[in-house]
Symmetry: C2
Subunit: 216 residues, 2 copies
């Protein structure tokens, strides 16, 4: 049975992992006959957003502790990730990717990537294993690998930023997956478009299918 590592950036679209993208990715991995383990970096969140108002809250939360809400307690520190134990790695989206796993939300193309995240992506890339990235997560891969082909949907500013980091951006619609065969990289826009939850399900279904196709 093929095994995915799924990396969560917290719990909640505005300061963590996008919950629908994370849940529907896990659902599709299992539904398509593979299995998964969940990971998150053991770091403090950049900040905490009240998801009702959009305001910053005067709180501190830990990315791994909050991601454990999506994982029902069953996840590991990303520092313990070992590429040898996995057939693929998948990054759901959410602002946590651009605030916790990297500083893309604040620094754009000049962002820094969380060291555990960078290490995991580099290890999978070096091993020639598939990397999947939903929504805003492709910015991580663009920053680390530079010359790759990917999609972040249709947003011109974000597309411009990933091109500044050396990537080749392809504009996509709901559920479409861009496959960079040379780098074994799979990307799909999800909530980077104005999407509903069924369209998120399509994106998750299609990216997992594309990855599994390359594994068999």
């Amino acid at each position: 049975m093929k095994k995915f590592a799924v990396v969560l950036a917290g719990c909640g679209v505005y300061d963590g992992a996008e919950i629908h993208e994370a849940t529907l990715s896990m659902y599709q991995i299992k539904k398509q006959g593979a299995e998964y383990e969940l990971f998150a970096p053991d770091i403090e969140q950049h900040h905490v957003i009240n998801h009702l108002t959009g305001d910053e809250m005067k709180e501190k939360r830990n990315v791994m502790v909050e991601a454990a809400r999506i994982a029902r307690g069953n996840l590991k520190p990303l520092a313990d990730f070992n590429a040898q134990n996995f057939d693929a790695i998948l990054f759901p989206g959410g602002f946590g990717v651009a605030k916790n796993l990297s500083s893309f939300a604040f620094d754009g193309p000049d962002c820094k990537v969380n060291p555990d995240t960078e290490k995991a992506i580099k290890a999978m890339h070096k091993a020639g294993k598939p990397i999947g990235a939903l929504c805003i997560s492709p910015v991580l891969v663009a920053k680390i690998l530079g010359d790759v082909e990917l999609t972040i949907g249709q947003d011109k500013d974000t597309a411009g930023a990933v091109e500044k980091m050396g990537a080749n951006h392809k504009s996509t619609g709901h559920g479409e997956v861009v496959i960079d065969a040379k780098n074994n990289l799979y990307t799909t826009p999800c909530y980077m478009l104005d999407a509903n939850i069924v369209e998120i399900g399509e994106g998750a279904e299609n990216i997992v299918r594309a990855i599994l196709k390359t594994l068999y």
Copy 2:
């Protein structure tokens, strides 16, 4: 288009709404051609659980503010729920149901139910409209309506507690839905059984289908 109200008890299995059950319910409602609005009571959570360790955290969180993470900000106070505007109401599970929407986790059959929750269930029942409850949520209906037929899976203690509240308990396996046609009540066990995420998807799919079947 038929419209569901989905009631969230927070965000996270141990102190709020179970995230997979909530997300996959929303996904199935939309996938099967209906629409939904999300609600949560504007109350403080009973407590906050570190989902990695299971320990209580010295924090205070609001049920509606945390539920907004699952809702991407788009939900309303349960106090504003009006049964006239909806064709069905659905309660995903999670300990939040037994800690925030009621005191069942602490008081068992002698529990109290949150007034907004009680009002919503009574209004839908009075209107003869379908009530769906996943996982532990059927305890709410047992407490409020008493003489109903339902399932909480196979756990003998919980089954005994709902029978003490006047309900007739049916033991069920993964994805099974108990239909109480007289009360227009639909229940399915989900994570009250030792389930994986695909089995949760089956439960959500089947309960939404059963409810929509009665609406057309």
